[in-house]
């Protein structure tokens, strides 16, 4: 595959060839990602439909399979309304500020051993930094719209996102301590201690795993933490004045972030592309032929299902409850578990710690 790319671009000068190959890799990642986003919206409606004993969308195409395409076509032909009291420049800029970081974070996500666009040492730090940038898009969107609902939604969602980012950051610190590396590939390799799914970090870091995922749900403003949108109180939150493709860009960013949280949760706690039966007596060799990327995608799908399941199950939290959960429950819990992990790492306890170079 990569050889083919080099032969096709052989006529270019060196620097141009390098950029062309990077662009090819990016489009190879981007197209499945955007398709995944489109069909995640379809899956969401379908799965929540079945959970509520409805059939969900079933009119467009066989069993509704063309629904996301119809949706995007419809959005394309809608007018982009810019409110007259809005700040035009920021109003149009903020969807981009939400969208670009949501995509750029994918540059360091490995899907298989060394199947990654940018194999950098500071991978996890980069992800934490770039996902924090998304909050700018939301705050600016709410401010630029000059509408009270948008403004309230934006400050609510800004405060919520930064609160849960702390709990999330602490959970990541636990993972880094256990793996002794910031590189996502090496974090996965550190989980391959030959005990199958019991050698992954979800077991020794169980509280951090749960906190990480719940914080991820709160970070992406998904139900039950979706007070930023809160249809019954502030209509749609920060994007109430957005329409057409400008709205679609926010929507794409939100779903790309959901898939990103799912990918990170699988990489950090569920061993990424490692087989769950790796090193186990009978099942290990039996499932040896399955390529790593299949395991990775299966784990991501599991987390995405969890996202939808949460939305179908729980009523919305009240805002003070959200802030209490973030500050008074998650932060003390993660602090305690970081110290526990520190003792485990220094004491080289169990099969998880003290094997790697870390």
């Amino acid at each position: 595959m990569i050889e083919l790319a080099y032969t096709v671009t052989a006529w270019m000068p060196g620097w141009m060839q390098a950029i062309a190959i990077i662009l090819m890799k990016i489009s190879l990642l981007m197209m499945p990602l955007l398709l995944g986003v489109a069909y995640l919206t379809f899956a969401e409606r379908k799965i929540i439909g079945y959970m509520q004993v409805r059939v969900g969308p079933n009119r467009v195409g066989p069993r509704g399979w063309l629904q996301p395409i119809a949706d995007s076509l419809k959005l394309m032909f809608k007018e982009i309304v810019i409110p007259s009291s809005a700040n035009r420049f920021l109003f149009l800029l903020s969807p981009l500020l939400a969208f670009a970081p949501a995509l750029a974070a994918w540059a360091v996500i490995p899907f298989d051993d060394h199947l990654v666009i940018a194999d950098i040492n500071a991978g996890l730090l980069y992800v934490l930094a770039i996902t924090s940038l998304g909050v700018y898009g939301i705050i600016l969107a709410g401010w630029a719209s000059n509408s009270k609902y948008a403004f309230l939604g934006a400050i609510r969602s800004g405060a919520q996102m930064v609160s849960y980012e702390i709990a999330m950051g602490f959970a990541l610190v636990g993972v880094i301590m256990a793996a002794g590396s910031l590189n996502l590939g090496q974090i996965v390799q550190a989980q391959a201690t030959g005990l199958g799914l019991f050698s992954w970090f979800w077991l020794p870091l169980l509280p951090l795993f749960v906190i990480y995922f719940i914080s991820g749900v709160a970070e992406t403003n998904r139900a039950p933490f979706d007070v930023a949108e809160g249809e019954s109180e502030i209509v749609a939150g920060f994007h109430v004045d957005y329409s057409g493709m400008a709205f679609a860009v926010f929507f794409l960013a939100e779903y790309a972030n959901m898939i990103l949280i799912a990918a990170l949760a699988s990489l950090l706690f569920l061993g990424g592309w490692l087989s769950p039966f790796d090193g186990l007596p009978v099942l290990g060799p039996l499932f040896d032929w399955v390529p790593g990327i299949v395991w990775m995608l299966a784990k991501m799908s599991f987390f995405l299902l969890l996202f939808l399941w949460l939305r179908a199950t729980f009523p919305r939290y009240r805002y003070d409850q959200i802030m209490r959960l973030g500050w008074k429950v998650f932060i003390p819990l993660t602090l305690v578990w970081i110290m526990v992990t520190g003792v485990l790492v220094v004491g080289e306890v169990g099969p998880w710690f003290g094997h790697g170079e870390g």
């Binding site: 009291s85 540059a107 666009i117 009270k148 609902y149 702390i166 860009v249």
Partner: protein, 118 residues
């Protein structure tokens, strides 16, 4: 080393360009018929009687300040966490003292009511 970061730079540029292109498509394909009703800010059918950039609760501001402190702390923890296995007990003790100081501050803000939302 640094060339590993080139794909990231390109990726960000692609993200920005894609977003811009998508919105440009919407602008070109969709109609553009603004009128005064359509251009008014959405407020459930009411006329917006004042500017939306109003005063807001000071607690949001407090959350932002506390966030900066804790996020800095996480930034301090990251390099420590990477080398913890190599340095061992000394690193653990040093960071325990650091976290202790922070926990004292955390308890103080908690007791002061900075985390209360009635």
């Amino acid at each position: 080393m640094l060339e590993n970061y080139l794909p990231i730079l390109i990726f960000m540029a692609v993200g920005l360009i894609m977003g811009a292109v998508v919105m440009a498509i919407g602008y070109l394909l969709g109609p553009q018929r603004p009128d005064s009703e359509k251009g008014s800010a959405y407020e459930c059918g009411f006329e917006a009687f004042e500017d939306a950039r109003m005063k807001f609760d000071v607690r949001y501001y407090l959350v932002a300040i506390l966030f900066i402190i804790f996020d800095l702390e996480i930034a301090f923890l990251f390099p420590w966490a990477v080398v913890l296995g190599e340095i061992g007990l000394f690193a653990l003790g040093a960071m325990a003292i650091f976290l202790l100081i922070l926990v004292v501050g955390f308890i103080y803000e908690w007791k002061k009511g900075a985390l209360e939302w009635e």
